[in-house]
Subunit: 292 residues, 2 copies
């Protein structure tokens, strides 16, 4: 059984690493702040002093951090994974970051004999806790096959999308859908409100048919109840939308809907809602409608 | 068992009326062109010479025609339903039309002692054939309860949304969601194409998670396969979007997403795709992306 290292024990990384422990894997963890690492230690994980040490003591290193520079730091920075990289090591980055930077990191790891998979996830903290994440994977096929049991301990739908970067690109495609659906939900709910309809009843009656979406069913009721607690935070969605839009720029690709969504979420952040869940977008639509 | 009249035997009305026959109802039908009526006659329906005659021989009259003026014509026009309207008659309009005109027609029928329900549907010709339509109902509660078994012969999810017009308004809310989702699907699929991903694999991997929608699962594969045969025709969606936008105007409501969708569908109609299915919108996004 492969020895696993886990770097980044945040809202996603903590439950994901706990699922690996439950599946019986030996785990060495590293986290910038110590609290989360100690929690994992009490569940049986070993705590390392640096990403380099994690890599030295593992066959597979998983990184689950916030943004592109964080991944560059823990893999390529001083005391980083690359300092202990060697033939046989597989690095699985499950963060959502730039596909272009992913390919660059992958190339640098390859030069040491190590291999890299990009394997961002969707499904939120709920999917992380329940081990039902969707995992979109890019990178070498053999490394994917070797690591599939590990991914299966954290996710349910696991698909190899292509070579390095393809996982990240698929995650960005995911976010395009997510904001398209969310804009529809917000516009629909504000229309319902102004039209004098019962918003909850509208959600209920439309959830069974051709207008349905995960967002309508799961986030629509929260928006109506003004429950803005994050599943997925606005500021993290915005980070992802910037990645989508800069990939669009690189591809000469017009993304009118995602671009508009990003601007509307900017308005939401201006209103101080960056730490709220993405369903808080309803507030921007309510303002446009003169409802607040 | 109530005697039912059915006016409008098009792509939706034909299978809906056949489901009423299967459920054991006595049916009197009327259609502008004779072919569809004869088909129903051979299945056991009586054919009437006018909407008035349908109403005279029925306890409940269902109208399923294309647009607002068509409903006005068959109910209020010469030889229309209203000429045989009386206490005890219920008119159920299952077309998608103006909520405002619906209320006006309902008021005129009320003056004769008859009652009206607006009960537009979603689920397309497939839902009509399989009797699995979602039916969104506005109008008097007692008439709704009386007619529920009739609606259940045609649909699965049947919800009374409020007084007259509330069914139509809910259908418009449905269309707001439908185009929000569809724009997300088109933008996602074109992104996937330009990013070098396998579009079908993207649909498969994202259909299980937070990005999923009915449109992604059902229309995404058709768009990829360039199967533009209509489930739901672009020109009929455009008719509905005009109703949404004019309701928005009446309500002083900004509908940025639906408005943009309507304009993009105008571009699609300009390219000659009015008779194709709504998934043909992918062609506009492909042109924006320089893919055609």
């Amino acid at each position: 059984m492969k020895r696993i290292g886990f770097i980044g024990l945040g809202i996603m990384g903590r439950p994901m690493s706990q699922n690996l422990l439950k599946a019986g894997y030996t785990l060495t963890v590293y986290n910038r702040s110590k609290g989360a690492a100690e929690e994992l230690a009490s569940a049986g994980a070993k705590v390392a002093g640096s990403p380099r040490q994690v890599a030295a003591e593992s066959d597979v290193v998983i990184t689950m951090v916030t943004d592109t520079p964080d991944v560059e730091q823990v893999i390529l920075g001083a005391g980083g994974v690359i300092e202990a990289a060697r033939e046989g090591l597989v690095v699985i980055d499950m963060s959502t970051i730039s596909p272009k930077v992913t390919r660059a990191i992958s190339a640098k790891l390859s030069a040491t004999g190590a291999q890299m998979l990009d394997a961002p996830v969707s499904g939120g903290d709920k999917g992380a806790r329940e081990g039902t994440l969707t995992i979109m994977v890019g990178g070498p096929e053999a490394a994917f096959s070797d690591c599939l049991p590990i991914l299966q301990a954290m996710g349910k739908k696991i698909v190899r999308m292509g070579e390095s970067g393809a996982g990240q690109l698929t995650k960005l495609a995911n976010q395009i859908l997510v904001v398209g659906n969310m804009i529809g939900v917000c516009e629909c709910l504000v229309f319902a409100k102004k039209a004098g309809l019962d918003q909850k009843l509208v959600i209920e009656s439309l959830s069974a048919g051709a207008a349905s979406s995960w967002s309508l069913v799961n986030l629509g009721p929260k928006a109506v109840d003004r429950d803005f607690a994050p599943g997925f935070k606005v500021k993290l969605l915005q980070k992802d939308l910037k990645l989508v839009l800069s990939s669009g720029d690189e591809l000469d690709l017009a993304l009118p809907s995602t671009s508009a969504a990003h601007q509307l979420y900017n308005a939401l952040q201006a209103a101080g809602s960056g730490e709220e869940g993405t369903q808080a977008l309803i507030k921007v639509f309510e303002q446009l409608a003169g409802l607040r």
